[in-house]
Symmetry: C3
């Protein structure tokens, strides 16, 4: 993605900010005040930024409505971080490689290719596979047999899609993503493990995005499913027959074990673990490193190891935090009690 | 793996089930009742399945001996999930690519290739390496120098095997597996870290299977070892000089630190961590997310962070679960004691 | 890396050991006593090694000053493990592939290549990228557009470097490392997640080493930074806009969330997690599996989930370990108190 040139006026309109400065100044990107160049936009979120604003080379700034004006062209907004995110959309020039198929790409006979594809060097597409219009397969991607790849997909270099995978439209797969890896299922016989053949596949909905190095195993039979609009971060392991709902956000290094069902609009922070064969309801939020070992009802926020409902986790945490004061209190009680007992004893003997 | 056609009679014989229905019906695979097609086998495990059985399009069902018959061809079995796993073996058609070496594969002079190999496009095999009969190297695999690869191995696309690795027979490596990566060992001198050269390699026994994205580092000297029959899941990190025994099952995202010895028939659930330079005995079971920080005797089940023996972990968990009731009990004790003391005090003053 | 031949005299000089044996004996590597061959060096660290020393085939041994002599050529040292590490430096023959560009490597027009490069088969280098003198790109590496790669770098097979990455001199990237993957940042609108374009890049300092399968995301704007001399292990996730300092050691499967700043000389053991937008000071040490959820001051050692200062973590651990004895003590207190109360009650009624 290279950067577009954007005028201050267009920027202000796009982010619904109030421009105080020249309409036609052209910007090429965003940077912090200290590092911004003379064609770049910068930003002031709070008073900590005021000092650096005096010496910045930035052409203009996004500035919080809560601050006093500075001596630079300004676009006033109420939420600067959100304005930055929206501005990035303007500067971003979507990756649009020249359509075409690199001569080193190996497309098997019987592959069904759409229009306006961009297929990079050393790509391999096996027989029976369909690739929809406008999709991009960057260098070294591998598509197995009998896959269905939708339109406007973008696969980064090194993506591997195993046989029979079904991938929707506008799906973005990061570098070295593996779709359809072998499921981890064994039958034990006489102390030895025999692999259970996994004849199923992976089905990925429209608008799904998957981060670098993530592996999604195929199903024993039927499909491992990732629902429409779900975004998955880097180095995540999704096991055979998992059903992951729509519009979820799953952060890095999370692992979801076999046959577990996850609802829609679920948010997992990083390094979450979910055991096999359970159900996590719609809208569940799991804190970083949560270990989910049983069903979680819809709409619940869970934290900790093992994962507990937020309120319970906070209550337990508060109890734990006061733990170190208890032994002293108990010892004191024992001492007072002993004193009382010996006094009572004394009285009795009187 | 595509699916074989299997007659009901052959299926019943293979899984030792009792067939109630036509011998010759041909099945092409397994699916749940709701999604099964007219040539597919489905299954009834418990009463929850009875309703869907009324409308399924399945050609026949595996049915638990504990259920009442349904109006479909049936194969009666005692353990339906196990019967499904066995049936999958029947339907599975082992990946058997046409033997041959793709013209784009780069095989260095001095490589020793066996018979009936299937070597895919863009494979690279460096000098001094041997590949045994019947092995499959899928697209883009890389084998370094002086490796020994056994017979009937199957390496998925993107596998990287570094120099001097020794790999047994029938070894299955998943997509993007790395064997023989650099060990993470440094000498600190004047605050800077100098890498310790790792001149060793990795040795992998017969019938080992390794999941997608897993990395096994080579030894400083000698070998990092994975024993015969051990199965390793996705995105696992095995450090330099680890010795992992035979017939182990290691689930996803587990990490084993340097020089640690793991026995035979060990089972690790997902996201386990094992520290460096310790010994985990034969038959040890570690629960998901266990953090093993010291030697574990053979035959022990361990859970938690830090990992404790199962009984101790359960006992501590029970104590923890009752913790929130204690502060109230202690406060009540203090109150009662104060009352008693003031009464005693009162008496004394009388 | 193949092994050099090293004479005993040169070895003794290099590791500052005292040689008791023939100067000119040539050694080819290091092995344990039981497995050493007749041209190999072995070692005796403590008395446990004395028995195996009687039957070893090793040509010579490193021996601790604290032990009695054995009947083999010996090099006496005070710290045997450190001597082994130094000896490995001698035996190691740095990977020095013959310079040259494999005919299958695709170097775009406008790429700026230095001298003495070794570029392997199926490497792809996109337009606008510079590669410094003496660098090695092994098979299947991919460099995107407009990257700056320094001198004497070594990228293992399968490395992917995305557009605009800036990589210093002598940087070592392991197999399947991804530099510059898409950042995981979304704006939520009407329950759907829209990706925030990440126009920034990754900047990696001199002498950095990165382990196999690790992914470093690019910044929203500006740079995700890895400082000079920092060493990163396998399967680590470093998110967008992280700043990682100089001379750090980060062990396997650690994850660092977005925009977090990590100081210099930081040591993280394996499977550490660090939340987003916090600051970890210089010289911080984090134990394995630590979950760092707030700023950590410089020079602090932290442990546990959530990560606490070492002393606090140890104190809490000690309290926890005594927890199981408390319920009994509290119950005893309650019993004694009840006895006292009923006695007092009795007296009063008298």
């Amino acid at each position: 993605m290279a950067a577009n040139k954007v005028t201050l006026a267009r920027l202000a309109a796009h982010i619904s900010g109030r421009l105080e400065g020249p309409d036609h100044t052209e910007l090429t990107g965003i940077a912090e005040l200290a590092s911004a160049g003379p064609a770049e936009l910068s930003f002031l979120i709070n008073e900590h930024h005021l000092e650096a604003a005096k010496t910045t080379k930035a052409a203009a700034v996004l500035i919080s409505n809560s601050l006093a004006p500075v001596s630079l062209p300004m676009v006033w907004v109420s939420d600067v971080p959100e304005a930055i995110n929206m501005a990035l959309e303007l500067f971003a020039q979507p990756l649009k490689p020249t359509p075409g198929i690199h001569p080193s790409a190996l497309i098997a006979p019987g592959v069904n290719l759409g229009h306006d594809l961009a297929i990079g060097p050393y790509v391999v597409v096996q027989a029976g596979t369909t690739v929809g219009d406008g999709s991009v397969l960057q260098a070294g991607c591998y598509l197995g047999r009998d896959c269905l790849i939708g339109q406007q997909c973008c696969f980064a270099p090194g993506v591997i899609v195993a046989d029979r995978s079904q991938i929707g439209n506008r799906v973005v797969l990061g570098q070295n993503v593996v779709i359809g890896s072998e499921g981890f299922g064994y039958r034990c016989r006489d102390g030895q493990h025999r692999h259970i053949p996994h004849l199923g596949a992976v089905r990925i909905g429209d608008d799904v995005e998957v981060g670098a190095g993530t592996c999604i195993d195929r199903a024993k039979f039927g499909f491992t499913v990732v629902g429409r609009g779900t975004k998955i971060d880097n180095l995540i392991s999704i096991a055979h027959n998992v059903h992951l709902g729509e519009d979820c956000l799953i952060a890095a290094q999370t692992g979801i074990a076999g046959s577990t069902k996850i609802g829609n609009r679920v948010l997992f922070a990083g390094q979450v673990g979910v055991r096999d064969n359970i159900t996590v309801g719609d809208g569940v939020i799991a804190g970083a490193r949560a270990a989910i070992h049983q069903d979680v009802p819809a709409g619940t926020a869970v934290y900790g190891v093992p994962a507990l409902k937020r309120e319970q986790a906070l209550r337990e945490q508060a109890v734990f935090r006061r733990l170190p004061q208890w032994p002293a209190r108990i010892k004191k009680l024992e001492k007072r009690l002993t004193d009382l007992e010996s006094a009572a004893d004394h009285r009795q003997r009187d």
